[in-house]
Amino acid sequence: MDIDFRNQLLPCVSVFAWIFGILLVLMFVANAHFGEAISGFLNGAFGGRNLAYLLTTLSRATLIVGMALAVMISFRAGLFNIGGEGQLVIGGLAAALVGVYMPGPGWLVMATGIVAAMAAGGLWAVLAGVMQLYVGVPLLIGSLLLNYPARYLGSYLVGHPFRDVASGLPQTHLVPNEAWLPLFSGTRLDMGILFIALMSVLAVIYCNSTVPGYRARMNGLAPEFARASGLPVKRIVLQSLLMSGAIAGLVGALAVFGLHHRFTDGMLVQPLYAWTGIIAVLLVGMVPWAVPISGFFFAAIQTGAAGMERTADVPKEIGLIMQAVIILFVAGRISGVSLAGKSGENDNGH
């Protein structure tokens, strides 16, 4: 009991003290009124007229949780896929192009757009996997570097051939109204969150109860063990990446059909959805059921920080800093998969 207390509770308390202390220092630097800042934060994250800000948080959480699920699928399989951004962009692009150019009833356009986005994102991720398996490019770097071609390809396509000239921005035309994701009545929240809720459930089932999920997990915990035990390692790698990329693509599609209704250059990159998704997964050590909670938590930090900026003039980057600090302090406690140990690994298969 005594030992338990010292080993478990005390470090937690000290971590909270540290994080809180850093928060205070940051506010002091910004010369902010503490109470005002905190109430601005809470209001910005969870309040507002008719809970408008809570809905904003949920809307942001939709995309962050989606990216976190994508990342989780590959991380649990031991695949350090940090190319979620590229997969997200490619997915969004595919969704927008289908949404704008495909004729037919709205629901069909949307469904096709979502499928196309998932396929495109999945293939983009698989590309990184192929480079690792057959060329020997470490996935960590390969997937990261593939972000840039994705980004610039998107930028080029919406800036030149598929540009909505009249809008004045590098962006596609609007997706027709009928293909938008409907809003929950009386709110500004679109139904994309339902897709992500469903995905969360599916992901938990996949991780805990299916054969491929079990195999991927074993590969993530001990790749050499998986190989020597005769698991189909290459298939695990490609399958996991395909799923991971497909979820990222889905998130891109939801951003297009739910939030922005077209693809604008930079709209999926600048808000750092992919990176936030990564840290959301790391925060909870890749435990599937906890990932949506953690994603929501980070979304709240971001919208809360924006609220803090509006009311107390604390730059909203405080949100980014706090996210990083939280991860730093839990980094030592994250169990499950050691990422650094595996990043440089090459596959020596025949």
Binding site: G136, V137, L145, Y156, I321, A331, G332, S338
Partner: protein
């Protein structure tokens, strides 16, 4: 275009400007790599260095103080890395990702709180390094425009690459760094704490990355812009991985990247869409990575 371009003095002049930050950061990364610290937070290190350089230069009124402050900032990041990765045993990749975000957030936060501006901070009070004119060098064709008239940081970076080679081979700390990366138990057995050695690696890496940032903010231009490192840290990481931390190869790769990067600027003049020229350095990196990995794989498989 080929030969004219290569002989164009303005083009040659720009190559060192591009390669210096990458070279300095990659050398820092190389030290970590050799010491067994998987540091992929170079992007964040550079960013903090760039910010501190402006901070130091602006408040102390000299570019030298700027460089000192940049190194201090980089070292600070190194110490943070050490605290969370070595002492608190955080996974290096997790710590790296967090520190990159931390740097991105902190620099903007401080930009807004200290200078009250966002986006960019520019002031005539920021003193920067200017080019050094070396009389003899100036008159050599091709090499002259390439090497002459650069900031002191460029010459330092090249020197550092050569010195680091010697350092690893013959210096006490260099030897211990390599041991920390290869078999740290051997160090412990000899009574040297490998974590202490890795701490030194992070300190040196921080200083070099800080200077990389200084080159960006008080040598290439005299101002700080949000997210000024703009992916250079990741290219440096790739350079480190490609070379496995061998300083001379790092130098070679950095020159290559500097060349491609400045080439991409020139090529816009030929009417290619901006996105194509923008993606060039990353594609070049990716291709280099693929070619070298494939070559390596065929050698060892």
């Amino acid at each position: 275009m080929g030969i004219d371009l290569v002989l164009d003095p303005a083009f040659l002049q720009s190559v060192p400007r591009f390669l210096t930050p990458i070279l300095l950061a990659a050398l820092g990364g190389a030290i970590c790599e050799r010491a067994g610290v998987f540091n992929i937070a170079l992007e964040g290190f550079i960013l903090v260095g760039a910010f501190c350089a402006v901070l130091g230069s602006y408040f102390m009124g000299s570019e030298w103080w700027g460089a000192v402050a940049a190194m201090a900032g980089g070292v600070g990041m190194g110490l943070l890395f050490a605290e969370f990765s070595l002492r608190r045993k955080g996974d290096a990749i997790v710590v790296s990702i967090a520190l990159n975000l931390f740097a991105a957030g902190l620099t903007v936060y401080l930009l807004r709180t200290i200078f009250g501006v966002s986006g960019a901070f520019r002031d005539s009070g920021i003193k920067g390094f200017s080019g050094i004119d070396i009389p003899l060098l100036r008159d050599i064709p091709v090499l002259g425009p390439l090497l002459n008239g650069q900031s002191i940081l460029f010459y330092f970076a090249v020197f550092a690459a050569l010195a680091l080679q010697l350092f690893f081979a013959r210096h006490r700390l260099g030897l211990r760094l390599r041991a920390a990366g290869e078999n740290p138990a051997g160090l412990s057995a000899g009574g040297v704490d490998p974590q202490r050695v890795q701490l030194w690696a992070l300190v040196l890496c921080g200083a070099l990355c800080g200077l990389a940032g200084a080159q960006l903010s008080i040598a290439n231009v005299n101002l700080f812009v949000e997210n000024m490192s703009a992916g250079r840290g990741w290219i440096a990481v790739v350079a480190v991985l490609l070379t496995r931390g061998r300083p001379l190869y790092v130098l070679f790769i950095a020159v290559l990247f500097g060349f491609v990067d400045s080439l991409s600027f020139r090529i816009q003049g030929f009417g290619l869409p901006q996105q194509f020229t923008d993606v060039m350095p990353y594609l070049a990196t990716l291709i280099a990575l693929i070619v070298l990995s494939a070559w390596h794989k065929s050698k060892t498989a």
